[in-house]
Symmetry: C2
């Protein structure tokens, strides 16, 4: 038995705005949200949940509501009541204690991130040479060193979107940029449109800022091959804007994470036109925008498709240089940059200077870096697609033309169980529901393509062993559970 336990306050934090869209059935909304937390691993198997009375007090609910929610979870096999130990999280068919991954094989594919640039240390050495010239001030830098802001602006200009350094703010990675923009653009109770599925830490940041999330489905890449017909995503987003009047929308226009799809130019114009009409600010996360394998055309950065101020762009070096170099940026109108700088201090006091010097050295070499990455991604994608087709003929594997991952259809709602079984095989991988907010995507799995080919091969082998185990587990399907109305 794991000895982890969760306080009512900690569970409240994890629950986020679980009441949103809950209608009148608080117990259903609560149990469904706890269920998701268990299935996607944010509440580990074996964790003791807070006592009913404690949780009821914390959430301002009646004791009965919490009791009913817990009973509902027990009926689904997601909670086990142990005498003297309270209520403990379970997954049906899974062992009572989450097995530690074997020490011999530990592959982390829960992050779709490439290995470090081979010549990173060499570039860092050059950056240290630049350090003495930077030591003349207190070092707290909430907006970014002038040379780096210029280098980032120059790259946008070279990509076809004229940009001045005043339009750039340097952040501690793309996630930090998302969090800052959420805080400035979203007030408590405002709506925010997100793609579904999407990158989970993005919607977590919007939620933390108080947003009510409005998901809009993403057409899977290669949607025609899925036999579902092409959704007109531009139209779907535009309708969501006019219906929900959101303060902001978070989109990944290129090689979307996790699906890999790219918005076409018509959709880009349509989305920004609707956003401008509604006063919605579109946050376009372009971290993966240049990770092109064989897309066949190159869109401009999203802001080029609409009036100034409608799209705010985010970029970072996390998927090109390395995740351990924490530099990202925001491209926005100078007035918004000033507001972002003003709200930054309660969270952090600036981007480290040495990191900035390093990235300032790397930005002018971005074409060279991208050439290397594209070759790696091509090799990774080709091998993953080949191995998945061989090993799992029943899965639907789309053919992605860039980005960091492919979004695989499993044919059955078993993604959480598969991810759990994979863990016992030494493979960490994120289950489909991690990329949604409402329990969907249990039939999908994100399989990264950006790791070294040998790692991807080992991962698919581990997945094969996990898949055999998963076949024996009962499916926990979101569709089989009462909907949250």
């Amino acid at each position: 038995m794991s000895d982890a336990s969760l306080s009512a306050r900690a569970l409240e934090t994890l629950l986020g705005d679980w009441r949103a869209g809950a209608g009148s059935s608080a117990y259903l909304a609560l149990s469904d949200r706890v269920r998701l937390l268990i299935l996607d691993g944010r509440v580990s198997v074996g964790t003791r949940l807070p006592a009913e009375r404690e949780l009821a007090d914390r959430l301002g609910l009646s004791r009965t509501t919490v009791t009913t929610a817990y009973r509902h979870l027990r009926e689904q096999g997601l909670l086990q009541s142990l005498r003297g130990s309270g209520s403990v999280a379970r997954i049906p068919g899974a062992p009572a204690v989450l097995p530690a991954p074997p020490a011999t094989l530990h592959l982390d594919l829960s992050k779709a991130a490439p290995p470090a640039l081979p010549w990173l240390a060499e570039a860092a050495r050059e950056a240290v040479d630049d350090l003495p010239s930077q030591l003349g001030d207190p070092g707290f830098d909430p907006v970014g060193r002038p040379a780096l802001r210029q280098a980032i602006a120059d790259r946008y200009t070279a990509r076809g979107l004229p940009t001045s350094p005043e339009q750039i703010m340097v952040t501690i990675g793309a996630q930090h940029a998302i969090a800052l923009l959420s805080r400035v653009l979203v007030g408590r109770g405002d709506r925010a449109v997100i793609e579904a599925p999407t990158y989970p830490h993005a919607y977590e940041a919007l939620r933390a800022a108080g947003a009510r999330l409005v998901p809009v489905p993403v057409a899977p890449h290669d949607a025609e091959a899925w036999g579902e017909g092409l959704l007109d995503e531009g139209e779907a987003l535009a309708r969501a804007f006019s219906r929900a009047n959101p303060a902001a929308a978070y989109l990944m226009p290129d090689f979307q994470n996790p699906t890999g799809r790219t918005l076409d130019e018509y959709a880009r114009e349509r989305v920004l036109e609707a956003a401008a009409r509604q006063g919605t600010v579109v946050i376009a996360d372009e971290t993966t925008a240049e990770l092109d394998i064989d897309r066949g055309w190159t869109p401009l950065p999203l802001a080029a498709y609409g009036p100034a101020g409608t799209a705010v762009l985010i970029g970072s070096v996390g998927k090109t240089v390395w995740g351990g170099v924490r530099v990202g940026w925001i491209r926005a109108e100078p007035s918004l940059i000033r507001r972002l700088v003003a709200v930054r201090a309660p969270g952090d006091l600036g981007t480290p200077i040495l990191e900035q010097l390093l990235v300032a050295r790397l930005m002018p070499r971005m074409d060279e870096i991208l050439e290397l990455r594209r070759a790696q991604l091509r090799a990774g994608r080709d091998r993953v697609e080949q191995l998945l087709a061989e090993s799992f003929p029943e899965w639907q594997v789309p053919h992605v033309d860039g980005g960091i991952a492919t979004w695989v259809g499993l044919g059955a709602p078993v993604s959480s169980q598969l991810a759990l079984a994979a863990r016992a095989q030494g493979l960490l991988i994120a289950a489909g529901p991690r990329f949604g907010i409402d329990g969907a995507f249990e039939r999908f799995l994100r399989v990264p393509i950006c790791q070294p080919v040998a790692d991807l091969e080992a991962a698919v082998q581990a997945l094969g062993r996990a898949w055999e185990q998963t076949a024996g587990m009962p499916a926990v399907d979101a569709g089989a559970l009462p909907a949250v109305v």
Copy 2:
């Protein structure tokens, strides 16, 4: 005329929880909060405030309430209504547009931070040598590299507080640590005790997490010399804990920023005893704890004075190494460390690796670094105290025995005007009210002692010129305004 204008949404963000403690007079609470924003420069002179109707809609107030608040601000000379331009922020006696600092002299004493360590680049070069060994994983590191956690734990152990690496989380500076702890320890509506005056970004972080702030006065260092008698701070804090039942308290036990006072051992025990009884977690910011000039005794880290889990410690290298090296840390029970890691992802994905390698190289040399800093601080303090005594005989200048600043009594409520006039003299300095939440401290000014002596000399000269100008301005005293009840 400045062309800056503030949207209702942006002003709402700046206002924070302005209603807290407002009682029945919403217009007074609103006008008082806007007044503070103007006086401490967060709403710049010349900025156009949102239209009354727009602000009323945004804040869910009646139009009359906003109109009355704006009229109240106009009567105090803090708002000017211009035909066709709406309502523009002013400071009585100050020029309508905030003068840009002259380019020839630009001293930033708004940050009490020392210059960079002279051999920083050398240490960074060594850190780059360690980089290749770190490149084997995705690089996202929300908890900290093992070697750095060990080095930080070792330093606590050496200071007399046995600590294991599992009790350490590495953060992006101390402010980031405060923000993470606020998010985990404080729920919306929970109370949080802070010192008054205190470090402003700390209470901003607590507020952002939804805390209702409960200020407890700090006895000025050298309080006897002020003729006010020694307040028993331990007792005052303990009473606040039992009265307000706060979820958390944020304290700087050593060389408090801005006052410089150190809590004695009796107060430390008293505070933790009361906190343990109440279930309050004390967040002790010990960023400046080792910046001892001539205190004459050395307290242990605060957690040593109470039961495990009662005090969570924060440290950083911002005041020892350089503000441009963004590494801080949290020392807490391992279960709290795990919760902090779990809530980190919506804000950022980890601490940069190269920064961590750099600090891992510096931690074992901390005694050497502190020796250098203490010599610099002694020189700075002695010179500042001498110059202030010579130039401003009417000011009350306490004799601090360590830390980064001294908290000077001006004898009149003119700190905001003085800071504004200093700006025109090329000196940026934070006015007293910046360190309070309720408009107090207009009679105080924080004067840093940690910059190079030449800079401090130039700063006092600029302050002298500003002081002459300030004499002609009418005082805007918080005490002369209606209290917020």
